[in-house]
């Protein structure tokens, strides 16, 4: 039966390819839209809540929070490192982690911080960089893979994309993070003094004022009310340092993330509505295609009936054929959606989320099973109707 079904499909190649393409496009788009929106939300949520507040230069709250937690966009500017010490001296504060973003390594961001910044992350190989030594780095797993780096290698960062802007001093890779499928996979982490040293040209001239400055400070407090107090104290505060005035801002990251996610939720809702529309169109298109297919097969079916093939066997034959088409379509749709995830990876990573190709959400399985059923059910109905209207049955 299966052999004959395959042969019968072989004589309708063009028709079947068109059916498969139509199902693959609509199912693939549905699955991809769901997966990307879910992974982006999950990626943002996974990093939220680590810190009580973030202190940085005045400007966009979202830019400060997203840059400090997801390494997106550019830093708002710099503030004196002395604020870190001020915060650490405050008995309401449990930790104050300096954060500076400068330079890149083959396009990957280089972050200057302390080892506390990575305390939630596991080291896959090697060790954490030392807080006492400079020019040591822990790199994300994607960077290691893409550049063929291993522990013990030396990397040369650059101030811009230009090869000429490479720093002469190298940074020793002492550890590689375990794969996290987050933006951490694509970042180089080093002690903050490494960045200061890279930008101190030894001629007493500081490069872009990097020396003893940070882009932001990630703060944890003993309790949430202290976070609120400190936010009020630091937000809008102006401090003098080296005869320069710095206006600070303080944000509670969860609040910012909540705002971002509420916008993402609206986007997700739109995606779901689009998915639902696509699925409804799927049902209509696939049903019409199946009906036309069965209509075109009427001659073939009457031929088989005349030579004595029972309606039961004919029904089974068409159900097998359409099940194969449905199965191929859903599998191809799934593979196409994964391929699109890879292709979209670079774009989405610029938003701070690394798409995981192997991440499958349960609703995606439901969508694919639904698509499979949609491609088979019209055939079952058609064959049932045909059996009822069998010209030979009286």
């Amino acid at each position: 039966m299966l052999k004959f079904a395959l042969k019968n499909m072989g004589i309708k190649k063009v028709q079947i390819i068109l059916i498969v393409i139509s199902i693959v496009i609509s199912a693939g788009v549905g699955v991809l839209a769901f997966n990307v929106s879910s992974q982006v939300s999950d990626g943002i949520e996974s990093n939220a809540g680590y810190y009580s507040l973030i202190v940085g230069p005045a400007g966009s709250k979202t830019q400060l929070a997203m840059n400090s937690m997801y390494f997106t966009d550019e830093p708002l500017g710099t503030i004196p490192y002395s604020i870190v010490n001020d915060l650490l001296a405050d008995n309401r504060v449990t930790s104050a982690i300096p954060y500076a973003m400068a330079d890149n390594y083959n396009g990957a961001r280089v972050i200057g911080t302390t080892s506390a910044f990575l305390k939630e992350k596991a080291i896959g190989s090697g060790d954490m960089f030392s807080d006492q030594e400079v020019c040591q780095a822990v790199i994300g797993s994607s960077i290691a893979k893409q550049n063929g780096l291993k522990v013990g290698d030396t990397i040369y960062t650059s101030h811009s994309a230009s090869e000429n802007s490479k720093h002469e001093k190298g940074i020793l890779v002492v550890g590689i993070l375990e794969e996290t499928f987050s933006v951490y996979d694509r970042v180089v982490f080093t002690q903050i003094r490494t960045l200061w040293e890279m930008h101190d040209h030894g001629d007493g001239e500081e490069h872009e004022g990097m020396h003893a400055t940070v882009c932001s400070i990630l703060v944890n407090t003993k309790n949430p009310s202290y976070a609120m107090q400190l936010t009020n104290e630091y937000d809008g505060k102006v401090i003098e340092h080296d005869e320069e005035a710095f206006t600070l801002q303080a944000v509670e990251p969860m609040e910012v993330v909540r705002d971002v996610l509420s916008e993402a939720d609206d986007t997700k809702y739109i995606v779901f509505v689009l998915c639902a529309i696509i699925l409804i169109m799927n049902i209509i298109i696939i049903s019409i295609i199946t009906l036309l297919n069965m209509y075109h097969s009427a001659k073939e079916i009457s031929l088989m009936r005349l030579i004595g093939i029972s309606m039961k066997k004919i029904n089974l034959l068409y159900i097998i054929q359409n099940s194969i088409i449905g199965l191929i379509s859903t599998v191809v749709a799934f593979l196409v959606s994964r391929l699109c995830l890879v292709l979209m990876g670079d774009y989405v990573s610029s938003m701070g989320v690394v798409l995981n190709m192997s991440k499958v959400y349960l609703p995606e399985i439901f969508i694919l099973v639904g698509i499979f059923l949609i491609s088979v059910i019209p055939t079952v109905i058609c064959t049932f109707v045909m059996a009822k209207r069998d010209s030979l049955a009286e």
Binding site: K7, M304, R305, L306, I307, G308, K313
Partner: protein
């Protein structure tokens, strides 16, 4: 043995054909002659269980097929009857062998296919698509499909209708040779083919002669 007793078939245009009683003995060949519309093909379709008469009995090996279900008729047609249709009823996009193997859907043994195709001189066409065959070759494929299962009864509706006389005569010669020992009932309006059959039945006479064209 096939016995046709007092059957009548009514058509959509309300005209009815009343058939005289007929008996077809096992192992004999019959040719049904008659003008178009006299009910020759209708009789074959009723014997094959494709059509049902309004009244009367068609008894095949002591079973009245007018009383059995469509499922049983299908089973009879697939197992015991080889039907050669006037327009061949072949899937033209498929190969010769696939058109024969289609019977496997109902569990029919088609292992004799090569032997049958050889006896009909078309073994070399086995893997050719039917659409690329000539009319005579297509007719032979239709015959091969009908006889591959070694049916007790072979029904042939105008087996030479689409062929010129020379090719048609060759096909009939082969068909009667292969059908030796089986009950063969062929419908034609070409009386030049009568010599190849044991019996000739004038269907104009069997249906009262009132349907002469």
């Amino acid at each position: 043995m096939i016995e046709v007793k007092g059957i009548s078939k009514k058509f959509k245009n309300e005209t009815a054909i009343d058939y005289k009683d007929m008996t077809f003995e096992d192992g004999k060949s019959y040719i049904l002659l008659g003008a178009s519309g006299c009910g020759k093909s209708t009789l074959l379709n009723m014997i094959a269980g494709i059509l049902s008469p309004e009244k009367g009995e068609i008894i095949i090996d002591n079973v009245d097929i007018t009383k059995i279900s469509q499922k049983e008729k299908d089973l009879l047609r697939i197992k015991s009857i080889g039907y050669i249709f006037q327009d061949f009823k072949l899937i033209t996009e498929m190969t010769v062998i696939d058109n024969i193997n289609i019977l496997r859907l109902e569990g029919v043994d088609t292992s004799r296919a090569d032997e049958v195709l050889k006896s009909l001189d078309i073994l070399d066409k086995k893997n050719k698509k039917v659409k690329n065959l000539s009319g005579g070759e297509r007719q032979r494929v239709a015959i091969a499909r009908a006889i591959v299962k070694s049916p007790d009864i072979i029904l042939a509706d105008e087996p030479t209708g689409n062929l010129n006389f020379a090719i048609g005569e060759a096909v009939i010669k082969q068909l009667t040779e292969i059908a030796k020992g089986k009950t063969l009932i062929a419908v034609t309006h070409d009386d030049r083919l009568c010599k190849y059959f044991d019996y000739v039945i004038d269907m104009n006479e069997m249906t009262g002669g009132k349907y002469d064209a």
